[in-house]
Structure formats: structure tokens, C-alpha cells
Symmetry: C2
Subunit: 156 residues, 2 copies
DNA sequence: GGATATCGTTAGCCAAGCTAACGATCGCGG
DNA sequence: CCGCGATCGTTAGCTTGGCTAACGATATCC
């Protein structure tokens, strides 16, 4: 959902408003970051996948798809894009495709690092307006955020 | 970015890790909710736009596009989809398209309410595992989350 | 050695985002 | 009173990302 008149639950006393706030905030953060990430020429899904490859070591396409919670054909497209951009490469057993591992190139590592630096710049500016207390609240909140998502994904 | 080995900053002491955590959590929440929202036949962008229309009263396409932070052509598509689904209608001055207002149908209101109920159910389950303290932290965190996003969007 | 299982890819669909170009309407100035 | 520019929406056309269904290649197992 979205930003709308402030009369609607800012403090989110009800789970309903909380759900709405979570959804809304997520949508807007991604829309905001998407623009910034454009500077690296990488969309959010590609950036996300690249991140997994860089930090998750070499892994198969299936594993990557599972990690990103998308179907294999979707991941094929993403990996193909990353490969064309020279950010990842296929290694390992190239004959048996089920065993080929996807790994990051050094360029991929560089680009990822640069993208993060860019985002950090943005965030740093945004954080300037927050005091220490707010920072702590944000950090704690994200942790809870993660727990909620994990709970949803597990309980089904 | 994405879920990856837990050794990477859970508590987000650095802004870098905080940015990463925000991004990651947002991506995953949306991916998770997308599935649920499928049940209403509405994608996240449509649901978001519908929400703005329902709660933001009748408004022009341009205003809606601005609220949703997308370009007018994109919003044209979304509104067209919602219109075909009978969730919104165009009213006001139909001759001068610059003055036609978009407003929700009663069906639109119903569907939105149903979608929210569905999400709330999910969230309620997820929240069962959280104690009061965690709930407060989450609520506070979201508020900060919003502030950060607002700060980013303003400072440019 | 041939059936089977496993995994990736191809094909083909749709939604959502963009830019560029077009169109329609109003308001204003001459 | 008539055209001209400004304003806003839409159309056209492209890319990416998501899906399912079908196909292909490889290894394994009997």
C-alpha cells in the first residue's frame, strides 16, 4: 500500500496498520533504491542475485533460484544478463549443466562493492537527521522485520 | 540484496550493513506478500495504487502517478487494468481528460479490504511469535524506516 | 544398454517500468 | 474570434522480470 493522509495509523497500534506500514515502506524503499542502483546499471533482482553469488560462493543455478525465491527459468534470465555484463561466469563441469557452478568475476565483486558504497552514501545522508536513539530503534526494528518475514515463510 | 550466511551483520552496527538489511528485508517481504496478494488477483503495484485511490479520494492520473512515484504512462497501464477489473472508474469531466478523476468502485473497496484482511491474517500469525517488546521495537523501527525513506526522497 | 530421474534451458505468455512522440483540451493574446 | 501554446493523458515501442509447459542433456539404476 502507500503513503496516504497522515491520519491513518502512524504508530500502528493495530496489526492491520502495521502490515500496511511494512508493505508501504518496502515498496517505497525499493522504488527509491532502484533509481540509485540504476547508476550501476543493475536492477534490484540482478544486484540481489549478484550479492548472493559474491557472498554465497560458487553455487548452482538451482540453488541460486531457491535462494532468491524465484523459478529456475527466471534465474536463467538473470544469470544470463549478469554473464553478458561480465559480472558472473559459469565454472565447474560445463558439460553436465546440472553441475556447473556460478561464481562472481572480479568485476562483479567490484561492481557490487561500488553499488553498496553508493547506497551507503545515500543512507548516510538520510541517517544524518536521526539521533542515536532513532538509529537504535531502526536497527532493532529491522531485526524484528526479518523475524516476521522468516515466520511467514516458514509457517506454510 | 539477499539472505546469505548469518555471519554478515545481523545487528547492523555499520550503516553499510544497515542499508543492506533494509534492502534485503524489503525485497523479501514483497516477494512473500506477492504470493499472498495473488489470491486477490492483484499485483503489488495495483494493490498499492488502489489503496491510494480508496483512501486518497478521487484524484487525477497525474496525482496518482506522483503518489506512486511512477511515470504517467506506467500509471495509465495500471489504472486501465484496475478499470477492466471493475475496481476503479473514471469520473468527473470525461471530456477534458486532464480533469477526469479516478475513484474506487464499491467492488474496489471490498477487494482492498479483503486483501488487507488476508495480509493481516498472515501477519497476525507471524506476530504470534513476538513478545510485546518486539512488537514495540518493530513499530518504532518502521517509523524510522519511513523517515529514512522520506529523507532520501527529499534530499535530491 | 535402455528407462528414469534430475536439472537447466527454450518458448511463449503477461505485467510493469521507461522514453519519445502524439493528441486533445483549455486559456490567452492578438 | 481564432489560432497558439501549455498541460495533461495516451499510444507506441522497448526492456526486464516473473510464470508455466515443454524440451534436452546427462547421469544413474536396473
Amino acid at each position: 500500500m502507500s503513503r496516504r493522509p497522515p491520519e491513518r495509523g502512524q504508530r500502528a497500534g493495530k496489526p492491520e496498520a502495521l502490515a500496511d506500514a511494512l508493505h508501504s515502506a518496502s515498496i517505497h524503499l525499493l522504488r527509491t533504491l532502484r533509481k540509485e542502483d540504476d547508476a550501476s546499471g543493475l536492477s534490484a533482482p540482478r544486484l540481489s542475485a549478484l550479492s548472493v553469488v559474491v557472498f554465497g560462493g560458487p553455487l548452482t543455478l538451482g540453488q541460486l533460484a531457491a535462494a532468491e525465491q524465484v523459478r529456475p527459468p527466471t534465474m536463467t534470465k538473470i544469470v544470463t544478463g549478469l554473464e553478458k555484463a561480465g559480472l558472473v561466469k559459469r565454472a565447474g563441469d560445463l558439460r553436465d549443466r546440472r553441475l556447473t557452478k556460478i561464481e562472481a568475476t572480479t568485476k562483479g565483486q567490484r561492481v557490487l562493492a561500488a553499488g553498496r558504497a553508493r547506497r551507503v552514501l545515500l543512507l548516510t545522508d538520510a541517517v544524518k537527521g536521526l539521533d542515536e536513539k532513532a538509529l537504535v530503534e531502526l536497527t532493532d526494528g529491522i531485526q524484528r522485520f526479518r523475524e516476521v518475514i522468516a515466520a511467514i515463510n516458514e509457517g506454510r
